[in-house]
Symmetry: C2
Subunit: 84 residues, 2 copies
């Protein structure tokens, strides 16, 4: 694996696990007043379309990265709807 | 442009503009208590690496999408640091 691929994988990993601290914070505090519902509805829709796109072009990294992101982002969306 | 490319472009657009509602909400309320600092530090780092990756492989859509995302996400990060 060359350095460029490594940078791409690291970028994908960071933009996926970035949602973990927000999911944990929201789970702990049960408080989502400052979190934007619009952001997570639009973001989850976009990530879902990335999965459709990755499936159509048979690109496993795009599929796997976005499935992981969708799990985390939709968890935060669920908390937002539950604790709004 | 075929339907598959269209889906990819729409996915990229949605996962970029998704940050706009959060930036507007935070700008209006000046309240970021429920927003995770960790999320936006990690996310901005990842998006910056996507820009480095896109530059190295000379992929304009990756560069442009992530520059727009970085502008929005770092605005929210700035608000979080300012109003924490």
């Amino acid at each position: 694996m060359n350095i460029i691929t490594g940078i791409g994988l690291l970028a994908g990993m960071l933009t996926t696990i970035a949602f973990l601290p927000q999911a944990i914070k929201t789970w702990k505090t049960k408080s989502t007043r400052d979190v934007s519902l619009g952001m997570f509805v639009i973001f989850c829709t976009g990530v879902f379309l990335w999965i459709v796109y990755g499936t159509l072009i048979k690109d496993l990294p795009i599929i796997l990265t976005n499935v992981a992101t969708l799990v985390l982002a939709s968890t935060i969306l669920w908390f937002k709807l539950k604790y709004h």
